[in-house]
């Protein structure tokens, strides 16, 4: 959003934008840290710590096989389905609900306690109850995602709305803004960054939810690969699945964080 021209024209009064770390140096350290981690894994596997703990090289090999025979892709296709549906539901209903809570005292009074409790509760414990009520199908898994992701999404939207700088709201009223303009031109833009953060954190919770559902409800997708390979003592394949899951989640969330920084750079964020 920043225009380079403005900085070039800057008079001495302008506050300098903080300098960035050397990107190359940072990248070098990341490589060293990965080499160190995978090296330690390889050594630990060859020691061996346990018969069930394969070295990094075997795990990587197993990962290659599973990518080649398509089993990993099939597993992800089936795992991502409830995750995407669940996050989409939360994205629409959860954000809407959070905004309503932030704007209306009545909605806030009625529902805030529920979400505070849901946010604090260990949601994994509710999953057996979901199975009891909704069986073992897609509905139950979507619900598991929603239950884990919704609280953080709703609460972030709510807090974003409620934390709007009161001085900006007063400014809007002083310049004869209507309530509608206040919401559209001040409150929503102010809360946008926090709402997006909520969606990102919600997705992180959704990953947890869907994996727990696949491990606890019915083994499908990624959960099935983990459970099955563990039961037939194919430990390299089991670890490869787990490692791939960690990588997918980490890369997705990191990517979203970058999108967030690009959309809402700290300089123009209200918060």
């Amino acid at each position: 959003m920043r225009r380079p021209g403005a900085a070039a024209r800057a008079r001495p009064e302008i506050v300098p934008v903080k300098s960035h770390h050397s990107v190359a140096g940072q990248f070098g350290w990341q490589v060293i840290s990965f080499v160190f981690f995978f090296g330690a894994w390889e050594l630990a596997g060859r020691w061996p710590i346990s018969a069930a703990f394969p070295p990094f090289s075997q795990t990587l090999l197993a990962l290659g096989e599973m990518i080649a025979d398509g089993s990993l892709a099939r597993a992800y296709a089936s795992t991502l389905q409830p995750l995407v549906i669940g996050i989409a539901l939360c994205g629409i209903a959860g954000v809407g609900f959070g905004i309503a809570m932030g704007l209306s005292r009545t909605v806030e009074w009625l529902t805030l306690p529920i979400f505070i409790i849901l946010q604090a509760a260990p949601m994994a414990a509710i999953i057996p109850l979901i199975t009891y009520l909704y069986g073992i199908g897609l509905t139950a898994k979507v619900l598991a995602v929603v239950f884990l992701a919704a609280p953080v999404i709703v609460m972030n939207s709510y807090k974003g709305i409620r934390n709007t700088n009161p001085s900006l709201i007063q400014m809007c009223r002083a310049f004869l803004g209507t309530r509608r303009q206040e919401v559209l031109k001040i409150i929503l833009p102010y809360a946008a960054a926090l709402i997006f953060t909520g969606l990102r954190l919600g997705l992180a919770m959704g990953f947890i939810g869907v994996v727990i559902a696949e491990l606890l409800i019915t083994p499908t997708g990624i959960g099935d690969l983990i459970t099955y390979n563990s039961s037939v003592a194919e430990y390299p394949r089991m670890f490869a699945t787990i490692a791939s899951l960690v990588a997918v989640a980490a890369l997705t969330l990191n990517g979203l964080e970058r999108v967030e920084r690009a959309l809402f750079p700290p300089e123009i964020r209200g918060t």
Partner: protein
């Protein structure tokens, strides 16, 4: 110097009691002359900002009323514009959009409001910064944006809430001089809240001294300093120095 019919803002018996029992103002009655700069001066917590926001229509008084041009105030109005202590700029909007924001809220079409905003930006000395964002500006520049926004809606009365309190001393002095210049051309009525005695004496045609909580009018002083002279001369002027001393003698008793 001022005749009663030249009054633009009247404060009649205004009292304000906040929830929780804090009495900010009690029985404040005042008149503000048209086309002049009046300051509200007093120790912190005397309710001067509360009084200014009541005049703005942003806070409702528990007692009394405000009349602007003889008409009772029920809320904010087009004839009053506010300059905020913390600037209240939209961080995601350029200087141009921020200055034009008051007009945007009134539904003025973009070309028209941007043209007005550009003029105001130039007038407060920020030409060339139209596409900058508030975080790229210093405190003094941000407050110029706040002032330009208030000027852009062309209100007769400009209400300023300690506009220079978060600005360094050099910038403050420069800004004060610019403000006086600007007012000479535009014939605006300005009501200005400050806790700086020097600032009040330097800028004002009328100084309203408020007592500590609950705020009541303690004294009204009209410095009648000759405005024709340069700023440095004014600061050495007998009347200016006497005014500063007079105010200090009154305020001294409120300092614990």
């Amino acid at each position: 110097m001022t005749m009663p019919d030249d009054t633009i803002v009247e404060v009649r018996g205004v009292g304000k009691l906040y929830e929780g029992g804090v009495e900010a103002l009690r029985g404040v009655t005042l008149a503000f002359p048209r086309g002049r700069l009046s300051t509200l001066l007093g120790p912190s917590g005397c309710g001067k900002t509360t009084l200014l926001k009541i005049i703005a229509g942003l806070i409702r008084p528990n007692a009394g009323e405000i009349r602007v041009n003889g008409r009772r105030v029920e809320g904010p109005g087009p004839e009053r514009a506010f300059v905020f202590q913390d600037f209240a700029l939209l961080p995601w909007a350029s200087v141009l959009r921020n200055v034009a924001f008051g007009l945007e809220l009134r539904g003025v079409p973009p070309e028209q409001r941007h043209e007005i905003a550009r003029r105001q930006i130039a007038e407060v000395g920020l030409g060339g910064f139209e596409s900058s964002y508030p975080n790229q500006l210093s405190g003094g520049m941000k407050q110029r944006v706040g002032l330009a926004r208030a000027l852009a809606v062309d209100a007769d009365i400009i209400l300023m809430d300690e506009p220079f309190s978060s600005v360094d001393e050099q910038t403050r002095r420069k800004f004060q001089e610019d403000l006086l210049d600007l007012l000479e051309h535009r014939r605006k009525t300005v009501i200005f809240v400050t806790h700086s005695i020097e600032e009040a004496a330097y800028l004002s045609d009328q100084i309203v001294l408020l007592s500590p909580r609950p705020g009541t009018v303690s004294r009204i002083i009209r410095p009648e300093i000759e405005r024709g002279k340069g700023p440095d001369e004014i600061r050495r002027d007998r009347r200016y120095l006497d005014t500063v001393d007079e105010i200090w003698q009154i305020l001294k008793q409120y300092v614990a």
